[in-house]
Every structure is written in structure tokens, then in C-alpha cells.
Amino acid sequence: MAGSGTSLVQIRNLSKSYRRGNQVIPVLQEISLDIAEGEFLALMGPSGSGKSTLLNLIAGIDKADEGSIVIGGVDVATLAEGDLAAWRSANVGFIFQFYNLMPVLTAYENVELPLLLTSLTRRERREHVELALQLVGLADRIDHYPSQLSGGQQQRVAIARAVVTDPLILVADEPTGDLDRVSAEEILTLMDRLVHGFGKTIIMVTHDPRAAEKAHVVRHLEKGELTI
């Protein structure tokens, strides 16, 4: 299923396995996949099919055994740990199922987190954070702590944190998995806006067919292999 050479993400012959004692458990086998810039891709599949592992490999938070992942011209599979962290902070925005916000930081401070690793001044950081929070509709909750926000609002803060560095790709692992239907719909609408309004590339793992409906492309994984 490999596509053209102009794709933003090019995955070739990607394999990953885990060791449990002496046992080797294959998780992904010979995966090849292309994702174009501005594409909204949904990865679906049963539990244990390897979709979260594939997402982690694309996001550079796990290492493949074999194969290559070229994103924006950089083969992330070959980067050393330190370089990978720097690449990640500049090029990937993360949206997690359980938001993963720092409970002791306000919405503003949570969104500011990735910018602290950049060379931006305090004033520039403030402009970026305020813009990101406006984008997700939470400009009025800037000083609220996560515990003072609803699940949907927390996920919007997480999205603001993911987009604040203007990354190449956004990866979302079950972004609606912990939300009620209304909040889930709001989050999906927001993600849809990020793709259509701002040209973002999103790779989303989901079990939710309604979430997958928003995607341009839906790929299924089963037993570590792409089926459709």
C-alpha cells in the first residue's frame, strides 16, 4: 500500500516485536504505509492488533526492530534518543486518551510546556499559548487547573498543547475514549477544523466508528498487519 514519494509520512517494512521472558511476541509485521500532508487518518482494529504501537513508532516514542519511518524527510527510526526527543518536541503534537495534563499546572502552563524547550521569549510564548487556547475555545479558562475543567475541556487543553508548537503531525490515541458523546463530538469537530482549517495532518487510533467517520482515510490493523 505504499504511495507516492511526496507523502509526509512514509513507512516501509516496519516490524516490531516484544519480548516476554524467552518468548518473542510479534506486534507489527512488515507494515508499509503512506500518509499525505493534511490527511486525517484513522487506525482501527481490535485490542492487541498493534495500532497504538504503530502510532508510538510514528510519534518517535518507541523504536522499531526493522524498517523505516520517514517523516518530513527525516528517518525517525535511525535517530538517537536525544535527537529523537528534540525531533519529537518540534514535529509531533500528542493527544492522549486520558489527556495527560499536569495536575499542578494551569491550562496556560500546560499548553506552555512544549514551548519551554524552544528559544521563544516569554512574551512570544504567551502569544502562542493564548492563540492555541483561543483556537480550542478555552481563552476564558486560562488559569484553571485540570481538576477545575470537564473531561472535554481537559482534552481541548491537551489539543491546544499539541498544536501550540505548530507540529508537522498530530497523533491522537483514542482521543474520545474517555469522553461522553457530546464532548467527543466537540473534540472530533475541533480535530476536523484543525485538518480542514489549518491543514494539519492527524493520525488517530480509535475504536469508535463515529470518530473514524471524520477521517479521510481509515486503515484497519489485525494481528500486526494492515488489512484494508
Binding site: G82, F98, N100
Partner: protein, 385 residues
């Protein structure tokens, strides 16, 4: 700045747990400080002793006295510059809890041998002139509010009766280690009274203090003194003032060693408790550390956050312990003055307290820091929910 903010907020995220840990560290540091002060007190006399002074006492035991006639014979030994003499009086001021050292001494020679007892001009002469006069150290005078000219009454325990003295001077210590909680009065006053009331106890000195012309001669003079009185009715034992003080300390050395060990054990225990707390904290925050790593924060950042929290908590406890040490020492000094008349905290004890608090934080943070810094992101993120 951000790291510092995160450390402080994290440190008091679980308020009850953090407060209990801080209190635990504070109590440990308080106990450590007090125990070290106690040990230091024991060796205080040794530190204040001089190399040019010898102490001669009865060879059988300190509770037996020596004839006053020994004074002139000792004085004739080559190398002896001056000889003072005195008796431990053991008088009680108003109540038994008001314990302080009080000696009957020969003022002229005794003050000559103890130049570290500094008296204001005129007070030394007034003391020497007045047979019922006495002098007291500044800390002792301050404690009981004594002023020069006050009448001080001591109840004799070794020498029965009510003994009245007029305070003729208040001395200050020339050095920090000089004892300022001593009362000295005329040996003649004691002796004259004894001649009338208990004649068999008169003309006896409890000890002689010998000033030597050269510290190098101390050993030779000691031998000469003891040889002079060998086979007499009251044989002598002469040693340097330091050895004399150490002989007191050595009687209780095993207890002091045990106290020192206990002081270190207290710190080790709180280290383990703090390490357990930090390990629990780190375990709960693994997903947060993984998230920070996901966002691009490095191992160093995570290590500083975890280690900083451990140090922040233990330093808070340490500071609280140090601050509590002063009122605790003051309370001991006031309420238990018969056992600990000069229970004062030294700067070195505070430095040790601070060092101990730092060590608690440093050791307690090792495992959680290693765990937080080395966790694989994918594993850490799985801990959510």
C-alpha cells in the same frame, strides 16, 4: 523557573503525605541535633582544658581530699610556676533543679591560673579582698538575674549549712569554650567555718591545680609530684587537665558512643521512610514523567524534578527541625538544668543538621529519580487510567 515551580507544587500536592514526611524529617533532625549537642556537652570540659595546667587529686578517689600542706611542697618542684587549690562545694541555690558548679578556691592563685576568666577592672580586687565574696560566670548571673553586690545563699550538701556570699564580680569567658556557669568563692571562708563546725574536715583541699612553666615539662612535673607523696597517707594522682577531664568522660564513654550511634540511626530510619514516600510519589507520577518525556523533556529534566522534590521536602523538614532545636534546647536547659546546665546549640550542630537533611533528601531521591528518568515512554503512558 518552570522546573522550580513544578518541584514546589509537586512537593505539596499530597498535602497530608508531604506534611507528615516533613514532620518526620523535622523530628529526626531535632533528635539528631539534640543528641549531638548532648555528646558535645560531654566533651566540652576537655575542649576547654589547658595544656599548661595539671590537676592533682587523691590517688584513691576524687572524693578523698589532700592535706593543704601539700601546696608548699608541690610549689618547690622544678617546673612548677604556680599552685592553686580548691574544693568541690556542691551547694544548691534555692532548689535542687538549679544546678551549677561551685568551688571553694584560693582566689589569687586560681584566677592567676585561669586567665580565661575575665573580670572587669576592680571586681577581681574586690573579690580577693572580701572573704565572703564570690564571683560568677556571666551566663550564670544572667540566668538568675544576679547583680554585683547581691547576696547569694547556697545550701551545702557536702558541707552542711546555709552559706552566704556577696557577689563581687561577674566574669566573662575569654574564649567561646570557657565555662561561664561557675561560681567561685574563698576557700578560706569554707576552711574557717569547717574549723569551727567539723574540725576533722578542715585544712583539706579536694584538688590542686598546678601551673607549669612549659607544657613540655607537664609529664615530668606530674611524675615528680606523685613521687613526692608516694607511700604517704594521701598518695596523689597528677595528670594534665585534659586527661583529668577525659577521665570523667571515659566513665560514660560507652553511653556517649551509644548516643552517637542512636543519632545516626535516627537519620538512617528517616532516610528509609523518606525514600519510601518518594518511591510512592514517583510510582504515582510515572505517567506524568512519561508525558514530559513525550513532549521532549530529557532525562536531566525529569531527574531534577524528582530529585528536587525529594530535596525540597527533606530541606523543609530539616529547616523545621533546626528551628525547633533552639526552643527545645532552651526548654531542656530550663527544665532539666540539674542534668544539662548549659544545653546550648553550637553552629557546627546546625551545619550537621543541615547536612543530615540534605543527605536524607539526596539518598531518598536516588531510586525514584532513577526510576522516573529511565522509564520507557510507552511503558509510562500505559500507567494512565
Amino acid at each position: 523557573m518552570f522546573i522550580l515551580k513544578l518541584i514546589i507544587r509537586n512537593a505539596f500536592r499530597h498535602k497530608l503525605r508531604s506534611v507528615l514526611t516533613v514532620i518526620g524529617v523535622a523530628i529526626a533532625i531535632l533528635a539528631f541535633g539534640l543528641l549531638r549537642t548532648l555528646v558535645g556537652l560531654w566533651y566540652h570540659g576537655v575542649e576547654a582544658s589547658s595544656a599548661t595546667r595539671l590537676v592533682t587529686r587523691n590517688a584513691i578517689s576524687l572524693i578523698f581530699s589532700l592535706p593543704i600542706s601539700y601546696k608548699d611542697r608541690i610549689r618547690q618542684i622544678p617546673g612548677v610556676k604556680s599552685v592553686a587549690y580548691g574544693n568541690w562545694f556542691g551547694g544548691i541555690y534555692i532548689d535542687e533543679k538549679n544546678f551549677f558548679a561551685n568551688y571553694a578556691v584560693d582566689p589569687q592563685t586560681y584566677l592567676g591560673l585561669y586567665p580565661e576568666f575575665v573580670l572587669p577592672p576592680g571586681q577581681r580586687e574586690n573579690f580577693i579582698r572580701d572573704r565572703k565574696g564570690c564571683i560568677a560566670g556571666k551566663r550564670l548571673a544572667d540566668k538568675y538575674g544576679w547583680k554585683v553586690g547581691d547576696l547569694i545563699t547556697l545550701r551545702g550538701t557536702i558541707f552542711p549549712g546555709q552559706w552566704e556570699f556577696v557577689l563581687r564580680g561577674i566574669y566573662k569567658g575569654a574564649e567561646k569554650s570557657t565555662e561561664e556557669r561557675v561560681l567561685l568563692f574563698h576557700w578560706d571562708y569554707l576552711n574557717e567555718t569547717l574549723r569551727k563546725t567539723i574540725p576533722r574536715r578542715a585544712d583539706q583541699a579536694g584538688f590542686y591545680i598546678i601551673g607549669v612553666t612549659n607544657p613540655d615539662q607537664a609529664a615530668a612535673v606530674s611524675v615528680a609530684v606523685d613521687q613526692l607523696f608516694r607511700n604517704s597517707l594521701a598518695e596523689t594522682l597528677t595528670e594534665t587537665e585534659r586527661a583529668f577531664q577525659l577521665s570523667f568522660v571515659s566513665m560514660t564513654e560507652a553511653i556517649m558512643i551509644a548516643i552517637q550511634i542512636v543519632s545516626y540511626v535516627v537519620i538512617v530510619i528517616i532516610m528509609v521512610v523518606a525514600a519510601n514516600t518518594m518511591a510512592m510519589t514517583a510510582r504515582e507520577r510515572i505517567a506524568e514523567y512519561a508525558t514530559l518525556k513525550t513532549l521532549g523533556f530529557g532525562v536531566g529534566h525529569i531527574a531534577v524534578i524528582v530529585y528536587g522534590e525529594s530535596l525540597a521536602i527533606s530541606l523543609c523538614g530539616g529547616m523545621l527541625g533546626i528551628v525547633s532545636t533552639f526552643p527545645a534546647a532552651n526548654w531542656i536547659e530550663t527544665e532539666l538544668s540539674q542534668f544539662f546546665p548549659a544545653f546550648s546549640i553550637r553552629p557546627a550542630t546546625i551545619y550537621f543538621d543541615l547536612l543530615a537533611a540534605l543527605m536524607v533528601g539526596a539518598v531518598a531521591g536516588i531510586f525514584p529519580t532513577w526510576r522516573g528518568a529511565t522509564i520507557r515512554i510507552a511503558d509510562g503512558l500505559r500507567r494512565i487510567g
